[in-house]
Amino acid sequence: MRLAIEKRDTKSRSMALIIPLASFIISLLLGALVLAASRTNPLQAYGAMFNGAFGSARRFQYTIVESLPLLMCGLGVGIAFRLKFWNIGAEGQYVWGAIGITWVMQFWTFLPTPMLLPIGLVVGMILGAIWAGVPGFLKAQWSVDETLTTLMLNYVAIGLAEYLYINAWKAPLGNMGTPEFPEAAWLPRLWGKIHSGLFIALALVCILYFLLYRTRWGFELNMIGKNPRAARYQGVSIKKNIVIAMLLSGAICGLAGSVNTAAIAHRLTRGVDAGYGFTGIIIAWMSGLNPFASIIVAVALAAITTGADALQIAMKLPESMGEVLQGLVLIPLLAGSIFVEHRLVLIKKETA
């Protein structure tokens, strides 16, 4: 007897649903191994995490707040992923969003204060779009590999942000960070910690769903992603669409950065490169590039982060345990996706 992997005759629809769920459970089991190795009772640890993420109104609010930049970055990279353009530069594009809004808040003082917020958000979007558009253009024009360019540009953006908040734009008081934005220009809060970025993120989900599934442009992206040659034969310009998709992808990641900065830190400071852009990649993958599914995935991953903070307090485990658990979520998912088009069969050796 042996096991073999066989190609299915059609794509399995039920598997497309079961796999993300099953891989989430498997990742919890893998995480349990890691926790057990750290001499912690996994059940207790997961209990503490769940409690830390959803156990009180304040914790719930914190989880939602944490999920918003994740959701937006997931939506952003998801657009590029539809074209099989591997934008792993969301982190840098997010940082540019934060730089953009800080620039407006700090230096565009000729504007009336109520205008600072909307214009800051737009400038953040534009800078994120440019940061993503450059690799898009390089790819479209000269087939420069996007995984390298987008990854490297992250470090450029992060380095620049550091230079700005430690040096050039540093507030006169304190040893790092730019001056705080005027309070009237903060993103208003809705309920406790939850801020109006929630509306922006949910509106984005709806807009993107419409754009990707209901418009001619979404149809073209679908064609290019699934068969670029055939798309070209049908008159669809691949170069143009790569650049447009990357501009949009970067704009959304940039917006995530400017929204989050205007809502939480209210200035550019340490921690701006919190890894939302990288986690966004996991979200895009796990949601199958579906904007609505991204909401659930983003909340789940945010809960792992906020839960891990509780883990640190309650179980005396390092904070980085959260990152370990997040990383573990993706591996079973990627391994499991093979079962959408394949199935496992048990072969019994028969004799004639």
Binding site: D9, F219, N222, M223, A230, K348
Partner: protein
Amino acid sequence: MNQQTEQTPVVRMEHITKHFPGVLANDDVSLELYPGQVLALLGENGAGKSTLMNMLVGLYRPDSGSIFIRGELAEIHSPQDSMALGIGMIHQEFMLVGNMTVAENIVLGLKELPFIPQIDEIRKRIKELSARYGLQVDPDAVIHDLSVGEQQRVEILKLVYRGADILILDEPTAVLTPGESRDLNKIIQKMLSEGKSAIFITHKMDEVITFSHKVQVLRRGKTVNTCDTASVTPKDLANMMVGRDVLFSLDRCPYHPGGVRLQVDHVTVDNPLGSRPFLDDVSLEVHRGEILGIAGVAGNGQTQLTEAITGLIPISSGKVYIDGKEMTNATPLQIIRSGVSHIPADRGANGVVGDMSVGDNLAMKKYRTNEISHGVVIKRSFLRAFADKLINAFTIKTPTQDTCVKFLSGGNIQKTILAREIDSCGGILIAVYPSRGLDVGATETVRQNLILQRDQGNAVLLVSEELDELQMVADRIAVMFEGKIMGIKSVKETNTEELGMMMAGTEDRRRDA
């Protein structure tokens, strides 16, 4: 070869049934192949020939039924399993790595290959095998540089090297010149004399007659008949295959060409890698109400000609006019908007998006218009109605319009493309090998549609390798050789011999208008 009585068959497939969603691909099919024998599997597209063979090589599993190899029940779950049983298949698309040498390709993936291969020994063995079967190939040649016929020989060598003695060939002559086909026949005869055996997938009658000992005809997944080749005529076979009498000639209106719609004027397309250009000073005109055929052995610039016209590859010099307007190096979209439809070569790779639905594939030109969209928004209800209309009009066999197009048979994929391109055609239709690999029924549909377009006053440019097809369908024929037009002839004033000479590179001195 009537050794059946005393020998066990090398391959016996019994009561094989295989379902795909909405399609019964094989329905209780049985098959026997004896050593030293060639069995031809004849049938239309979607008749289930390839499905049956794919189960023999482990790409699919039968829903029910059993396979016996040399009398023993075999469980074949992967191509590796089938290779271990000595079964090898040569697919229509070759599985070769273009920038590696013949020898490297032959040993690629061999399990017993040591970490550091003894390349001299491999080369020696390849030379031995080449000499034994008359497969002349240089082991050090790079695949890129070989002709299609030579590449096919490499594929055969690959199987022989691995010790295959049951060969499955999927339409092996579709890409070969008549001379190469004769060579292939010699190679196969030599193999048979050593006790190897072969199964031939085909839908060409003359091929059945020249190559096979026994022929099994499939129709809609069922065996219609199995008989000795010597006892049947091509006409019998054609009738068995389609289940009705085949039209061998097509009705058409008399030839009254109108004004020029498409003009190609001294067009040259450089080949950045090769020594001679893809297209070398090509000029031609296609008129309203005519079909201009492009004849020639595949690879003499025909696809580049159509890609240059449709804006897919850059033109180095010369001009293209559509309805008198210069369209040289316009974008593919501009060309489409000026009324050009294109049925491309290699339909799976260029013509459809396999992972999208039949409906979406049908809408891939018209989604830009009010018939499907309101401004930039696609109206799903419009799209569905539009797709249903075309599925009915072109009798596309598909379970639903939501089925991924890659699950359809080749003939139905081509009908999907045909439907989309004809529906969106603005007066100029370019068709490249439109009937390649299609069965009699689907070929007839394609040809009738091309003629219908011509009769409606459209200009049709038809690239084909089959002179019969061109002589049946076209009004004028241009022959291409090494990127040049060797001559353009009116179908009525030329003959197969003259065209054949031009295809082989003899220039026609009396170029006519």
